[in-house]
Symmetry: C2
């Protein structure tokens, strides 16, 4: 199956690399890394990824994966061509997936109107404004659209999708290959679990509010 | 602080992008993405990253992060220049970190002789042959060398290092920013937890044995 991993300037690298590492490891997947224009793409932390294709050259993938960005409001304003590609490519795709604020791009493309979806916790308002029914869950599946919470949640999304596509045994093998037996040092990975002052500081850094 | 994220052909992208996303998000960090030669680097799953610098141009970083590869034996044979750089740069570094089989490169550079370290579960034999005392742990810290288990463990390593460098509060903020509240779909992320047939299949795929 042809999988398009969508790249764009100011994207968050881990949003994409989590599900890529899970999904592209399966022998049935041919990965394509595509942006509005082929060439280098600078992530929000400085890492540069290379888009091997332009989106217009991969119009009908089986699987679409859209990452988010820590600057999602600016990205929404700058992504008309990417959003038009999503709206055109989704109807023929077997699965469309987003990680983190990638779901706000799906919403802008009209894919989430009245549908349950998730996003980074700090972007729930943006996603709701885009017409989705926001769920504060790590992975949300609705029909053939699967969305995840922020950044690291893309690994969980990838494994959930792998289990749907290839069965639990195959997904378990991928999880073991990635040695995904997480041991976070703190129990603070959601705003409900983190100390309120930490949540407030991160929210202010991300949203200015 | 100057952080060098080491790139090389056939590296595993998530090994690097996990700790990068954690560490480069701190305002004190200036990230450098460096390979033996500046330019494109093709990861083992097909994603292309861009090395903005040659290793010789960043000889004395404060922090070194070395990813692994699913083809670690071939990488060990092809990486003489990278290994020489590690041996030269480590003595002046504040911290040297490896993810997954990156520790086998550290060992080849002479950094782990008689020291405790970890690696991807399928590469423990290679790491032991390199002179390290292999620990089947997710993150191992010994002096100023910190090593992690396979692929996804680099996120846990990054957060452990962030806590050492900047305190627990700062590390918690980063963890919340990455929404790192993992929910793996299966409890099979180590060979001890996975069904034996799954472990055997993944080991054979990775090692041919």
């Amino acid at each position: 199956m042809d999988a398009v991993f969508v790249l764009y300037d100011q994207m968050t690298a881990l949003d994409l690399v989590g599900p890529y590492e899970v999904l592209a490891s399966h022998p049935s997947v041919t990965p394509h890394f595509a942006a509005v224009a082929a060439g280098p793409v600078r992530c929000d932390g400085g890492l540069v990824l290379h888009a091997g294709a332009a989106l217009r050259d991969v119009p009908a993938p089986d699987l679409i994966v859209v990452p988010g960005s820590s600057r999602w409001l600016a990205v929404l304003e700058d992504s008309a061509e990417l959003i038009a590609w999503l709206a055109a490519a989704h109807p023929a795709a077997r699965w469309t997936a987003s990680v983190c604020t990638g779901s706000t791009l799906l919403a802008r493309a009209g894919l989430l109107a009245g549908r349950p979806a998730t996003t980074h916790w700090a972007a729930r308002g943006t996603l709701a404004a885009g017409g989705a029914i926001v769920r504060a869950e790590r992975v949300v599946t609705d029909g053939n659209v699967i969305t995840s919470a922020g950044v690291s949640a893309g690994i969980d999304l990838g494994l959930a999708l792998a289990a749907r596509l290839w069965g639990e045994r195959a997904a378990m093998a991928i999880q073991l290959g990635l040695e995904y037996d997480p041991a976070p040092p703190f129990d603070c990975g959601t705003p409900e679990k983190a100390p309120p002052a930490v949540t407030a500081a991160v929210r202010a850094a991300l949203t200015g509010r």
